[in-house]
């Protein structure tokens, strides 16, 4: 579906802001009930709360209960959005998500903000680099990781219209809008090819805030004489395996890029798909098997090798492996 333009191309805004705005925007039309765990000003569900105070409930610092309350609301016909930081929504409440939401396949939407290391100064305890892995492994769970505010907005609507459990991942850091809403259609489960040519030597498959540096890497590779395809995977599950298979077949090498552990997230999902259809080298840019640390978000991105330069290096290495 296409939406009337709200965000300007290049505008810097965090996806969590777009999440709060989207809840408010679509809250009038849909029977949303929003739950938060004492973080509404950070998760931005406070934006919804201001408009619809009767449908916003604070669960206090009790995420396990919040997720199962959301399950009960869904069982009674509501469309609940339960929000907290990714660390607590997917981490602390994992078993509630698995048993009370996933197993009965209830229509619960988990809006998890502050994902990845761009949480920044709060450090490792709050930087969740494992949520995609945790949510992806639950049968029937849809997992969405938007790349910018425009995609985040569209993803919220897609999640509302989808009947079943969804995990939506949002970030704290302001990132540029890279999608022109006048010319953008979000389709759940469908990857988006951002640039391609017949001579592509490698495909960069990126998700979330790593899509923008993937595009920058593509330009840097051009100056090295390398033609790279760029694919945005906003839906980690179900994965657009057809698009991945085509990239493997046509370009013969893949680099994945995500603000998440290289274990269990996009890189793993892509590698699994590629192994099953057309084995080619798959190199993964992401947080290595380590915890994060405190620091300004932007500095951390370069410290942990989550930038265009790292993608370029991995792309060249992947091509050498062909």
């Amino acid at each position: 579906m296409k939406l009337k333009k709200v965000y300007e191309l290049g505008q810097k805004i965090a996806t969590r802001e777009a999440y709060g705005n989207a809840l408010k925007e679509f809250g009038a039309e849909y029977p949303l009930v929003v739950l938060d765990a004492d973080l509404s000003k950070s998760t931005k569900t406070s934006v919804f709360q201001k408009e619809f105070p009767d449908r916003h409930f604070n669960c206090g610092i009790a995420e396990s209960n919040m997720i199962a309350v959301a399950a009960g609301l869904a069982a009674a016909g509501k469309i609940p959005f339960a929000s907290s930081f990714a660390m607590f929504a997917a981490g602390r409440a994992f078993e509630q998500v698995r048993n009370s939401v996933g197993y009965p396949h209830l229509n619960v939407k988990i809006g998890a903000t502050h994902a990845g290391i761009t949480v920044g100064e709060d450090g490792a305890t709050h930087q969740c680099n494992e949520d995609l892995a945790l949510m992806r492994v639950i049968p029937g769970m849809t997992v969405i990781n938007p790349s910018d505010a425009a995609e985040a907005r569209a993803a919220v609507l897609a999640a509302i219209r989808h009947d079943g459990p969804c995990y939506l991942r949002f970030g704290r850091l302001a990132v540029p809008v890279i999608h022109d809403e006048d010319d953008y259609e979000f389709v759940l489960g469908r990857g988006e090819t951002l640039c391609e040519s017949e001579n592509d030597q490698v495909t960069i498959v990126a998700t979330g805030i790593m899509v923008e540096p993937a595009l920058a890497a593509q330009k840097l590779l051009v100056s090295e004489g390398v033609s790279a395809r760029v694919v945005n995977i906003h839906t980690i599950k179900p994965l657009d395996e057809e698009l991945i298979a085509r990239a493997a077949r046509e370009t013969g090498a893949i680099v994945t890029a995500e603000e998440h552990s290289v274990i269990g997230g996009l890189g793993s999902a892509v590698a699994e798909a590629v192994c099953a259809c057309r084995p080619v080298p798959v190199l993964r840019v992401g947080v290595q098997d380590t915890f994060g640390c405190s620091g300004p978000a932007k500095e951390l991105l370069s410290v942990f090798g989550l930038d265009a330069d790292a993608i370029v290096q991995k792309a060249l290495a992947a091509i050498r492996l062909k």
Binding site: V33, G60, V69, A76, Q96, S100
Partner: protein, 275 residues
């Protein structure tokens, strides 16, 4: 309640007890002790208290019951079967491959099951969500949740208790099967959660203590719960294994199936006690 009504409930509870034992015996697996413990409560709830229609199990205006102590679903399945949700013959398929009667309640496949449960502490939270939905929609249905006393050791139970009281869910009635035993032994020896009445009162609940095998006390308690402006906790003193002398008050029967001989003896004893 007339003597006739009391006798009818007693005999329905006997059906539920035999049905629960049939489940566990057919599977050679399951939880008889806690199932027998809550059989009288389920008989009262499903045959006298709940506003439900087995022909329309998904009626949005129905009362809900969440068996948070999901491992005692043999009793729940027997109650649902005898209430008309499905053929009691299915009780013989409990925990078998291809049966709808899963080892713990499964709302996706079993008519009448309002919430999948079994991982302790979660069902009561889901019941809070259902009660909240009723408040949002200005509907008058009520939500019941049955918990174990050992289950009170789960932290989530107290998160849910805070939530229910804070959001004034007086349409929620939780029942604690206070039989004093859990898998590893006496609750007071494993990790003592008592005094439960004082704790729930401090959490903002309307607390009513009853004998969990006395239908007249149930009638008074459930009626009082409806008058409360707070969520209600009914602390039901029960006997684990109730009705089968060799199972009564023995934690060894928490999760052990009776063999053929024990099953036959148990069914005979229960039938002999019919009114």
């Amino acid at each position: 309640m007339t003597q006739q009504e009391l006798a009818k409930l007693h005999n329905l509870a006997t059906d539920i007890r035999i049905g629960a034992l049939t489940c566990v015996h057919s599977a050679s697996s399951g939880h008889p002790g806690g199932s027998l413990s809550i059989a009288d409560l389920l008989a009262y709830l499903y045959f006298r208290e709940l506003r439900i229609d087995p022909k329309n199990p998904r009626d949005p205006d129905r009362d809900r019951l969440v068996l948070s102590k999901g491992h005692t679903c043999p009793a729940l399945y027997a109650a649902l079967a005898y209430r008309g949700y499905f053929d009691p013959k299915l009780l013989n398929t409990f925990r078998h491959v291809d049966s709808i009667l899963q080892g713990h309640p499964d709302m996706k496949h079993i008519p009448g099951v309002d919430m999948s449960a079994g991982s302790l502490g979660q069902g009561v939270s889901a019941a809070c969500g259902m009660a909240l939905a009723a408040k949002i929609d200005h509907k008058d249905y009520r939500v019941y949740a049955i918990m174990g006393d050992g289950e009170q050791e789960e932290g989530e139970v107290w998160e849910a208790a805070m939530f229910a009281a804070h959001h004034k869910l007086n349409n929620l009635c939780v029942i604690v099967d206070f039989n004093g035993l859990q898998i590893d032994g006496k609750i007071t020896e494993v990790l003592n959660p008592t005094p439960l009445d004082e704790k729930y009162r401090a959490f903002g609940f309307n607390v009513i203590s009853i004998n969990g095998h006395d239908f007249q006390e149930m009638e008074r308690a459930f009626a009082a719960a409806k008058e409360s402006d707070k969520p209600t906790m009914i602390l039901a003193k029960c006997v684990k294994g109730k009705g089968v002398s060799f199972m009564e008050d023995r934690y060894e029967w928490h999760g052990t199936a009776p063999n053929d001989e024990q099953y036959t003896a148990a069914v005979r004893e229960l039938n002999d006690a019919r009114m």
